[in-house]
Amino acid sequence: MSSTSPGASPQDMQERAAIDRSVRFPVMFFFTSAAAWLFAATILGMVAALKLRVPTLWDACPWLSFGRIFPAHMDALIYGWAMQAGLGIMIWMMARLTRVGLRNATYIIVLGHIWNFGVALGVLAVWSGFGNSRTWLDFPSMLWPMLAATYVLIVVTILVMFRVRRDGPVFISEEYLVAAAVWFPWVYITANLVLGAKGSAVMSAGVTVWYMQNLLYFWFIPIAVAIAYYIVPKVVGRPIYSYPLAKFGFWTLAICAGWMGFQRFYGGPFPAWMPAVGGASTIFALIGITAIAANLFYTMQGKFSLMQFSPSLRFSLFGMAMLLLFAVLSALKSFIGISKYLQFNLFELGLDTLAIYGVFSMAAFGAIYFIVPRITGCEWPHGGWIRRHFWFSTYGILTVLVGMFAAGLSQGASLDAWDTPFEVSVKVAKPWIVALVLGWIFIAYSNLGFFWQLALMFVGKGRRSEGPTLMHVAPGEAASAEQAANVAKGTAHA
């Protein structure tokens, strides 16, 4: 067996196969419904961007107004796509790492349906004008207890797996997954409870940004990092460079992230220490992100060429590169001299999109490219589609980021000149919004192939082959000599 990993015993393989079988249905359920939500979110994103550029378009139809479409787009992206993809990845990865299979797949699938039902209800409510206009918490307030309870019941299985894990050292990804599992309910329930209490309206804006920042740093980023820490050693076949460094990164992030959020409101009507603490902890968190990036860099050293072939490796490491970019930009934005040109404007949308799509979604795609062949028993149909998925996603997210940076800068400079009418700040940003439209068109195009391939895999129509689908081999064709050598050495794994 030229493609068998050296040193893997038949018992290991049997065990892996059994674990994969046990989680197959819930994980595929989460991946496919996440992909469907991503499709919806992408379409809504394109329409929202178009409406921002041409506000008079379809202005007779309230269903297509920006104020409804945009929050519906963001909520579908976060709760529909990202959280479900994340849950699927969490379940599979935790099962593999703890060597504990899932005993009750039906339980997860039922809860997955409830989650989907709740999100669908929420998105429809927002879309039909019953949202409550709190960024990322737009769902009508009666929905959050249901979503929180569903999430808790799902992650209980992950925590149980961790509790009954096989003896041995705990891998760093497990720590991130356990942390993300418990952090989200804390952040989500806290934010909703505080917002539900009839407090100051100003402070509810503050709570909302605290929630946004912590959803990014306490859920999206930990899961993206867990994916990278898992995929890199799996594909490269080396241990992670340093466990102490990984722990250092983890605890830095854990300690710093909860203080963030208010730095989005420098100069706002809050006691000055609140944004200051947020800004300082964003800079402190960069310490942890740098440690993560360094750890992965040293693990990869000398093996970067594998990124050419393995989609999982390329997507997840691209996500990590974007994570470093995101953390550096966020830290720079914590200085008032920079922040006053980049806050309260479209740059924040660019940065949030970078975190959700550039960091989390790209890492999640990497994990999905790794997981799905193992649980469906067939290979991805077409390397070319994976390649297009990668490149057009990259173009899309970078177009959004650069465009929103330019838009935000011109908008921010105009807002800073207090004697300039507000209208001017809207007008100067308008040309750059084309980048948002273009970016989402790229992302939509890039994902078409992904949806199609995932659907084929779902119905078992993937490629039947011994070799993985790599990014630079056409299906059915013989691998190049170099890749064949890589496969033989067991170093190239999809």
Partner: protein, 254 residues
Amino acid sequence: MNLDYQTEGARVSTIHHAVRREHAEPEAGDEPVRFVWLLIGAALLIAGGGVLGTYSGGFSQDQTYAFAYYSGAGPRPPGANGDDGSAKGPWIDVWMAEGKKVYGNCVACHQAGGSGMAGQFPPLVGSEYVDGGTKRLAAILHKGLMGPITVGGQSFNTPNLMPAWNTLSDEKLAQVATYIRRSFGKLPEGESGVVTTEMMKSAREEFSGLPSPLPTSELAKLDPAAHLPGDQVDLETGDSIGAVPADGEEKKVP
């Protein structure tokens, strides 16, 4: 533990290739944390501490702005046409209070009371440059000053030169000029001593060609009594009351 699924016992040959070819579940090495990471951490801690120290306003619950957020002057001269202008008293009080803040730039040399330092820095109290027309005063503020000069009977010829303050906005310069004239100057009967932003703006344009710092020989060429052109303002509201200059002034305005 022996879970049900483990007893399904698939034969190895039927296991999917992807599962067969993959590496064992990952592990982590035990390289220690290098010193350089602690250094990077320390550098970022210092940067974050700087943010915390500079912007936190001493962690007071009452402090909203712990920093100059706006790069220009305030969002609007408080009370000038603000919604709570009445609560802040007459416009001139606010204008003078702002001027006093800007005067913080001047106290090191001219002293808080405007007395200057004998032999080194000219006084503002009893200075003909403060008491006289606003044009010369504006020229000094915009361009700075160097060279021998006699102020209030004392002569100064020290290497200390006055820096140009044209980096401040016209509004701030107008506020400080008003503050100096009304606090330290001896103004002619009926003159309010107010210098408006508009006047300072005209001075900036008019003197843009002059060298900086301005030699005292150049300053001597300016008419000592000439005022800057511009409307006078109502001291209560800050609104313009038209070009009503003090007595005997109009002939000097070009």
